[in-house]
Amino acid sequence: MNHRQSEENPYPVSPPRMAEQIFVALCFAALLILPPIFIEPFPLSAIPMFAIPRHEIHIYNLTDSNGKELNRDQYGLRTNVNVYLEHFYGARFPESLVAPLDREPDMERVLSNIRVLGNRNGAAFPLRLTSKVYGAVDDQTVGLIRSRSWMVSAEGMD
C-alpha cells in the first residue's frame, strides 16, 4: 500500500500475504506453461475452430429408392470443417470416410461401407449417393464447381 492509498482509504489494508503472492504467481505460470504441455486440458484449451485452410469442400447426400435422405453421420459421409477437433468430442459417432474434406476420398471404400450399412439397416435399395464439390468459381466468389453421383445396389455398385 503506498502513501497516496493510505490517505484515500480510511481503512488500512494489510500487505499481501505470501499465500496470495503464490496464488498469483501460479496463475501466471499456469497461463504460460500448461497449454503447451497439455494439448486439450479443460478449461485451459485454446484450439481454434476453422484453423485448417479449405479451398474445396465436398458435401455428400445419400437417398434411398423412395427419395428419403439417409443420415450422413451414420454412413460415414460427415464433412465437418472442424474435423481435426472431433478427437476431443465427448459423444463418439461413426468415423467419417470422406475426410479430409478437400480431396477425393477412397470411393470404393465409401461405397462398400454404404452397401454394408444399408443391408444391415434394411435400407430401400438402390441408394443414390451424390457428391457436390464447392470451391472458387472465379477470382471473386465461390460456388458449385462439380458434382457426381453413384447408385449403390444391395449386392454391388451400378
Binding site: 481503512y11 500487505p15 499465500a19 498469483v24 501466471f28 485451459l44 481454434p48 475452430m49 472431433e86 472458387a136
Partner: protein
C-alpha cells in the same frame, strides 16, 4: 532489471475500489445463473436429445473434469440437474455475498462440472464456455484469499468505498485473454501457414455454414465477404493479426483499448455470419476496452451529489436482511450509509 520486476510485482498488489472487478464478476455470475437454471429445469426429454443418446452414437468419452467419472454418472439426468442446481444456488449466494468463500469455490467447481458434463454428451466442442470457468476459478481464489478483508468491509458497509481489490485481478484477466487469442492466432498460422490469411478459406467456411449452400441463403453480413475475395482476404488477415498480436498489444495501455475493440468487431462478425455466440468473449473484451468501473463510480457520485441515494434505517430489524442483500450488489453506492465524501474520487 530486478528492481523493475520487483516494482511491477508490487504494483499487482496495490488495491483499487472493487467496482471494475465486480462488474466482470457480475456478468460471469449472470451467465452461471442462466446456465445453471437451464440445466436444473431441463426435462428428461430435452436431456435425451443430447448427441450421446442418438441412435447412431457409439458411446461417450467423458471429457474435462468428469474424465474419470463412470459413464453412468455422466449419462445421469439426475446428476446433471443436481450440478445445475448447485451452480444456480451458489452463484446467487456469491452474487449477494453470502456464505463466502464457500459459495465462490462451490460455484466455480459446479459450473466447470456442468460444462464438462455437457461437453461429454456432445458431438461438438464448447470452447466458447472455457473463459467463464477459468475466470470463476480466479475470482474464487480472490474471494478465498481476501475473505477476511472483504467480509469485514461488507459487515461495516464500506465494501464499495474501500480500496481492497488487488490490481492483479485485472492484470491476470488481461493476460489470460491476450494469451487465449494469441495462442489461437499462432495455431492458425502453424496449421495453415500463408493460407491462414487466405480469403478463399473464409469464403468456403461461410458458404459451408449457409443452410442450403447458396448465396441466397447466406446471412446478410456474410454475403459481401463471399462475393468479393478481396474483402474476404482483408477480413481473414485482420482476424489473424488481431488474434496473434493480442498478448503484446494488451501490454501497451493505450493500445489495449483499441485492440480489444477490434476483437469485439471480429467476434461480433462471427456471431452475425456463423451464428456462434462467443458471449463471454465479447463481454470480456468490452470490459477490457471500456472503463466501466470509473463510469459507474462517476455515475454513483453524480447520483449521490443530487441526493438520489436511498437511505434505509439500519436499526430497522425487518429491513436489515434485505438491506444486506441489496448492499452486496449496490455498485453505485446509493444505498450506502457512508458519507458522500468517502466516495469522492481523487
Amino acid at each position: 532489471m530486478r528492481a523493475r520486476i520487483h516494482t511491477l510485482w508490487s504494483a499487482l498488489f496495490l488495491n483499487e475500489r472493487p467496482t471494475r472487478g465486480e462488474v466482470l464478476l457480475f456478468l460471469l455470475l449472470v451467465n452461471v445463473i442462466h446456465d445453471g437454471y437451464f440445466a436444473f429445469t431441463q426435462p428428461l426429454s430435452g436431456f435425451l436429445e443430447s448427441d450421446a443418446f442418438s441412435p447412431i452414437a457409439l458411446g461417450i468419452t467423458p471429457r474435462g473434469w468428469v474424465a474419470f467419472f463412470p459413464e453412468s454418472w455422466v449419462l445421469s439426468h439426475t446428476l446433471y440437474q443436481a450440478v445445475g442446481l448447485i451452480a444456480f444456488l451458489s452463484s446467487l449466494l456469491w452474487m449477494f455475498k453470502r456464505c463466502l468463500p464457500w459459495a465462490a469455490m462451490v460455484c466455480a467447481l459446479a459450473h466447470g462440472l456442468q460444462i464438462s458434463l455437457e461437453e461429454s454428451l456432445m458431438f461438438n466442442y464448447k470452447h466458447q464456455a472455457l473463459p467463464g470457468v477459468t475466470l470463476l476459478i480466479l475470482y474464487a481464489g480472490l474471494y478465498t484469499l481476501r475473505h477476511a478483508s472483504f467480509s469485514n468491509a461488507l459487515r461495516e458497509k464500506r465494501f464499495w468505498s474501500s480500496k481492497l481489490y488487488p490490481q492483479w485481478v485485472f492484470a491476470l484477466v488481461v493476460a489470460y485473454v491476450g494469451l487465449l487469442y494469441s495462442s489461437a492466432g499462432m495455431i492458425k498460422i502453424l496449421l495453415g501457414g500463408a493460407d491462414s490469411v487466405d480469403g478463399l478459406t473464409l469464403q468456403m467456411l461461410l458458404f459451408r455454414a449457409s443452410p442450403s449452400q447458396s448465396l441466397e441463403s447466406l446471412a446478410w453480413f456474410a454475403k459481401p465477404i463471399v462475393q468479393y475475395r478481396l474483402m474476404a482476404t482483408a477480413s481473414m488477415f485482420a482476424a489473424v493479426l488481431l488474434e496473434t498480436g493480442a498478448v503484446v498489444a494488451f501490454m501497451v495501455p493505450w493500445l489495449r483499448r483499441y485492440w480489444a475493440l477490434g476483437l469485439v468487431v471480429m467476434q461480433t462478425s462471427i456471431l452475425l455470419t456463423l451464428g456462434i455466440p462467443f458471449k463471454i468473449h465479447i463481454a470480456l473484451l468490452i470490459w477490457i476496452a471500456l472503463p466501466f468501473g470509473a463510469w459507474l463510480e462517476a455515475l454513483g457520485a453524480w447520483m449521490r451529489d443530487r441526493g438520489w441515494s436511498i437511505r434505509l434505517e439500519r436499526e430497522s430489524i425487518g429491513w436489515h436482511a434485505i438491506y444486506r442483500l441489496i448492499y452486496a450488489v449496490d455498485v453505485l453506492g446509493i444505498l450506502s450509509p457512508v458519507a458522500p465524501r468517502e466516495y469522492a474520487s481523487k
